[in-house]
């Protein structure tokens, strides 16, 4: 059985054959030092094009969270789901689902780590993604 692809290879690089490990990636500006999550052509802060590929790691802290009870159309996951806004050590923030955490244990400031899960294709209302599973980055409490 083949391993699904990264949901966005410009944001998540899979680092093992089983597709269970990976790292968030982006760019760092050589002029001002700011890091950007995901694709960039120019620096978001100073507009320099002197960017270098950067490994943004697999840990962060929870900046905010919400328990989504009414999901967007075509949402492929369980309901409710926890959406976490996570700050990376290099500064950028990353929105993703928080898993393996009781709702009552969620707390702003808690350390989280990357979790990678295969997700089925969303039931898009039009167009669509071709129906393939993708490896999606999520967050879980650190050390869980």
């Amino acid at each position: 059985m083949s391993v699904p692809e990264s949901v966005d290879p410009r944001r998540l690089r899979i680092t093992n054959e089983a597709g269970t490990e990976g790292t968030l990636i982006g760019f760092r500006c050589r002029e001002c030092g700011v890091s950007v999550f995901g694709p960039a052509t120019f620096c978001q802060a100073c507009t320099s094009f002197e960017l270098e590929a950067a490994d943004l790691g697999r840990v962060g802290t929870l900046f905010s969270y919400t328990i989504v009870r009414i999901p967007p159309a075509g949402w492929p996951g369980a309901v409710p789901y926890v959406l976490g806004q996570v700050e990376l050590p290099d500064g950028p923030q990353v929105l993703a689902e928080v898993i393996d955490c009781e709702h009552s244990a969620l707390a702003i400031g808690m350390p989280v780590e990357l979790a990678i899960e295969a997700v089925g294709a969303p039931a898009a209302s039009g167009g669509g993604s071709g129906g393939a599973d993708k490896l999606v980055y999520k967050w879980r409490p650190a050390g869980a």
Partner: protein, 384 residues
């Protein structure tokens, strides 16, 4: 920040509104035309007098909708521009009309917007975007993240957020154009269905249908068109911005809760007015938390304190900074293309002292602030 160079004074001379709500028997053009015709009548001009028109709308319902709509008023050959700028599409159309006149290209312009928003949670990315797998593209979840963080940082209780919905409905009950006219209690707001904690259904604006229009004119051209100058309302500032780097980067527009501040500062500079001069404002309250952070971004209260002003009743019609006097997005509903011009309509109505039972006591300077995905922000300051 770009230095803005307005030229001659521009005034709003006519406004029109189609009620907001659900109108299954009418298409988008029919909604829009009713608002346009009302604005032309209000201004006392004819369609053939209008040299340019800008039409704000978002959802695709055929190409060149502005041309299709206005052709029913007569084919006059004037330029008609279709404007898409997310929830700020209408206010962006107004902004373009202002700058077209103040710089001298045109003496008069029509700005109008209309929308029939589909039901259900609003998303901004294409159907095949990674966000659809990740779950991060959900407008109200974005507001919920802001709300949770705001409550953590300021100590605001969830009842302060709910109070904004209560106020919105009280104002809308006095407004025949509103989508939702029935009032409700704090408990009813808090006990309505959870959308994304801590936001309940009644803390989120309904998706709606509706239309709004405004006619703008150079003050020095009023006499030539025979327009009544006594009802004209001056546009003291017209500012449009997109996202500015905020130190955090972003993969979603929800990350910039105070993105309105740069636009507000430009608007104050352009108008020579300050927060202390503002008598009332209409702000982008797609969810309750939005109203708080917009008020703070406009410097109408210190940061982190708008929730207290709300609890104390200062943002009610009878308070010292009345906010969303017509019910706002929360009670008017939110037809994207129309909302920004709906705010202009309410501001003009208040400054003309024509708001009837919801008229605020002192109304000389009004602010209309509208946000949209892409960190779009418009701030307009109107003055009588």
């Amino acid at each position: 920040m770009a230095r803005l160079r307005p030229g001659r004074e521009v005034v709003v001379v006519g406004v029109g509104l189609h009620p907001f709500g659900r109108f299954p028997g009418k298409d988008l053009s029919e909604l829009a035309l009713e608002a346009v015709v009302e604005s032309l009548k209000d201004a006392g001009v004819r369609w053939r007098d209008i040299p340019i028109a800008y039409f704000g709308h978002v959802y695709y319902q055929g190409m060149s909708l502005g041309e299709t709509t206005l052709s029913k008023l007569g084919l006059t050959g004037v330029p008609i521009v279709n404007v898409e700028n997310a929830c700020s599409s209408g206010s962006t159309a107004f902004w373009q009309a202002y700058w077209g006149i103040t710089t001298g290209m045109y003496d008069m312009a029509l700005a109008f917007g209309a929308e029939k928003v589909p039901r259900g949670p609003v998303t901004v990315t294409p159907d095949d975007a990674p966000e659809r797998y990740i779950g991060g593209d959900h407008m109200m979840a974005g507001y919920a993240l802001r709300a949770r963080r705001y409550m953590e940082e300021t100590g605001a209780p969830v009842t302060a957020l709910a109070q904004i919905s209560v106020k919105a409905r009280q104002n809308a009950a006095l407004n025949p154009y509103a989508h939702r006219k029935d009032t409700y209690s704090l408990e009813e707001v808090l006990q309505s269905r959870l959308v994304a904690d801590p936001l309940t259904l009644y803390q989120c604006c309904p998706t709606s249908e509706g239309a709004a229009a405004a006619v703008l004119c150079a003050r020095d051209a009023l006499r030539g068109y025979g327009i009544d100058a006594s009802r004209a309302v001056s546009v003291a500032a017209a500012v449009l911005t997109s996202g500015e780097y905020n130190g955090r980067g972003a993969d979603h527009s929800a990350f910039s809760p105070y993105r309105t501040e740069p636009a507000a500062l430009q608007a104050y500079e352009m108008s020579g007015l300050g927060p202390e001069d503002v008598d009332l404002c209409q702000v982008h309250d797609a969810a309750t938390i939005g109203e708080l952070q917009q008020i703070e971004s406009l410097h109408l209260t210190p940061f982190g304190e708008a929730w207290q002003a709300t609890v104390e009743g200062r943002t009610a019609l009878t308070g010292d900074i009345p906010v969303n006097t017509d019910g706002g997005l929360l009670a008017m509903g939110h037809p994207f293309g129309a909302s920004g011009i709906r705010m202009i309509h309410e501001t003009v109505t208040q400054l003309r002292q024509e708001a009837g039972p919801r008229q605020v006591a002192r109304a000389r300077v009004g602010v209309a602030q509208c946000s949209g995905a892409g960190d779009v922000t418009t701030v307009h300051i109107l003055k009588k």
